[in-house]
């Protein structure tokens, strides 16, 4: 399969993730959309790695996964902290509380 197919697939996934992250109001769903963006990148990395016959990109993918896991650990803790205070994970509530 030509590499363009992978390119278009992962760009589509990336755009879905990006639109979701910008439009959804639920913090958990926004976070899932960001993970989708990272996974789109992973897919493209592996496709390019195969194209160039170069293992460096696959190593990079492992690092992305590890860092994403670290981010999940911190991010979910922050969301839980927020939920305990306002009993909601809606991002709009934050803006309303500010004033």
């Amino acid at each position: 399969m030509p590499v363009q197919y992978y390119l278009f697939l992962s760009l589509a996934l990336f755009c879905i993730g990006m639109m979701g992250a910008m439009m959804r109001r639920n913090a958990i769903i926004v976070f899932m959309c960001i993970e989708l963006m990272l996974n789109a990148v992973n897919l493209l990395m592996v496709a390019f790695s195969k194209m160039y016959n170069d293992a460096a990109a696959q190593i990079f993918v492992f690092f992305i996964m590890v860092v994403a896991a670290a981010e999940v650990a911190v991010g979910l803790a922050i969301i839980v902290m927020m939920y305990r205070k306002v009993h909601s994970v809606d991002i709009n509530i934050l803006n309303r509380l500010k004033h």
């Binding site: 990006m18 992250a21 960001i34 990148v41 990079f60 860092v67 981010e71």
Partner: protein, 458 residues
């Protein structure tokens, strides 16, 4: 290289110290001592490297040159100054003092990686090591809803921009087949593929997020305002300066040869940053929020160094990073002593505490870029770099105009202190040690303004 290892080890030591040492004060003293050690390690690295030597580590993934070592040393020095000035305030944020200092050590590890990377993998990891501790620090005041909100907002924005950064890296890899930033230089203007251009654009947007350049600056005021003030001081200075050095390293080392392709986009970002930062800062009522917008405005000036792509730009970035960090840390240290963060809270400070008011005035003059202060030399060098390059004269003139606007909101604080009646209330008594440290900071600001060559001739 030694500094990266030392920062990690010292961070881990501090975390364990939190288990065994219960007294907050002794933990803070230990942290300051360890930061001294870290500064020592940096100086050791600096003196054992010959002036023109560049070292490579990890199969050429890290490339350590004199500039990077000197930058690391100066940033560690600024962190030490910061820790000395605000360690009392950090102890008041919450009960996990050891962890806060440990996270600051980890952030420094990220700073060292960002100033020495030669491979975008290290760039990515460095940015994450820099960012993740900051999400925690922003939310460290758990009783305060604003702090949690700042943390959540910063986290979502940071993760989003990481996604964009990674997409840029991947597209560039697709275009060139390498992660090494020096090998990117074979990108030529006439054979630039759309994929490489898209990659460069993605990277530019991701970096604009990290350095809070308009129009990707939306998170900055809320995060800087909501986070506990001692940590805002750190985020706005050392972290921002090192994100800029990473930005500059990538764009001048790798994409410097094709600068005509991306320069216009960055020039528009710069103009927007200067405009939004300065104009919005004028309308703020809280000094803390004004400083957040001022940090956006100062980012606009630092973007000139990225734009110019020449030797003066590197010097300008160095002096801007130090002068801006020192003045802002000083300003935040004064702000933390105040009970009321609005402009009115500063009314009549000159009568109540003339010395503190005088120190504040010097910091504000430096931020506004008045001659004889570090801020003036910093602005002079970055604008000189842009003039030498000569393609963006309209932007330089616009920046000078905006610098004049910035004087308005900095001088408003000075006006409040000296010419308004009022009773400025202090949060805590300013001790003799605080005065001494603030005096040293003032001295540094003036020395930087009078003799910038001290840190430029390395």
């Amino acid at each position: 290289m030694k500094a990266i290892i030392a920062a990690t080890v010292l961070g881990v030591i501090l975390m364990f110290a939190g288990l065994f040492v219960k007294e907050k004060k002794s933990v803070a003293s230990l942290a300051v001592f360890l930061l001294f050690v870290l500064l020592g390690v940096n100086i050791w690295d600096l003196v054992t490297t010959a002036p023109n030597e560049t070292l490579s580590f990890f199969n050429n993934m890290l490339r350590v040159d004199r500039y990077a070592l000197w930058f690391n040393t100066l940033m560690t020095g600024c962190t030490l100054l910061y820790a000395l000035l605000v360690s009392k305030e950090i102890q008041r944020v919450g009960s996990h003092v050891a962890e806060y200092f440990a996270l600051i050590c980890f952030i420094l590890c990220g700073v060292y990686m960002l100033s020495t990377y030669n491979n975008v993998l290290i760039l990515f990891i460095g940015i994450e090591i820099l960012s993740i501790p900051q999400y925690i620090l922003a939310g460290s005041d758990k009783r305060n809803l604003k702090s949690s909100e700042a943390s959540l907002k910063y986290f979502l924005m940071g993760a989003f921009s990481t996604g964009i950064l990674l997409m840029g890296i991947t597209l560039l890899y697709g275009a060139t087949g390498t992660f090494n930033i020096i090998q990117y230089t074979f990108l030529q203007s006439d054979m630039l593929s759309p994929m490489a251009l898209a990659g460069i654009l993605f990277l530019m947007v991701a970096f604009a997020f990290k350095v809070s350049a308009a129009p990707m600056h939306m998170w900055t005021p809320d995060v800087y305002d909501g986070a506990p003030t001692p940590f805002t001081a750190f985020m706005a200075t050392i972290v921002k300066a090192s994100a800029f050095v990473a930005f500059m390293r990538l764009f001048s080392v790798s994409f410097g040869a094709i600068s005509s392709d991306w320069m216009m986009v960055l020039a528009i970002i710069t103009a927007a940053t200067l405009f939004v930062g300065n104009i919005t800062a004028v309308f703020q009522q809280s000094v803390k929020r004004m400083l957040a917008y001022s940090s956006i405005a100062q980012a606009g000036f630092m973007l000139f160094a990225v734009l110019a792509v020449n030797a003066t730009a590197w010097q300008g970035m160095m002096i801007y990073a130090v002068a801006y960090s020192v003045a802002t840390i000083g300003m935040f240290a004064v702000l933390m002593k105040m009970k009321d963060y609005t402009y009115d809270g500063f009314n009549g400070l000159a009568k109540k505490d003339p010395m503190l008011a005088a120190f504040t005035t010097v910091f504000l003059l430096s931020l506004a870029g008045i001659p004889l202060t570090g801020g003036f030399m910093a602005k002079y060098f970055v604008l000189l770099a842009a003039v030498e390059q000569g393609k963006m004269m309209w932007l330089v003139i616009f920046a000078l105009f905006m610098a004049a606007v910035s004087a308005y909101y900095y001088f408003r604080v000075i006006m409040a202190m000296y010419f308004k009646q009022g009773n400025a209330e202090l949060n805590t008594e300013v001790s003799a040690t605080d005065r001494f440290l603030l005096a040293i900071t003032v001295l540094l600001v003036i020395v930087l303004g009078a003799a910038p060559n001290l840190i430029l001739n390395i």
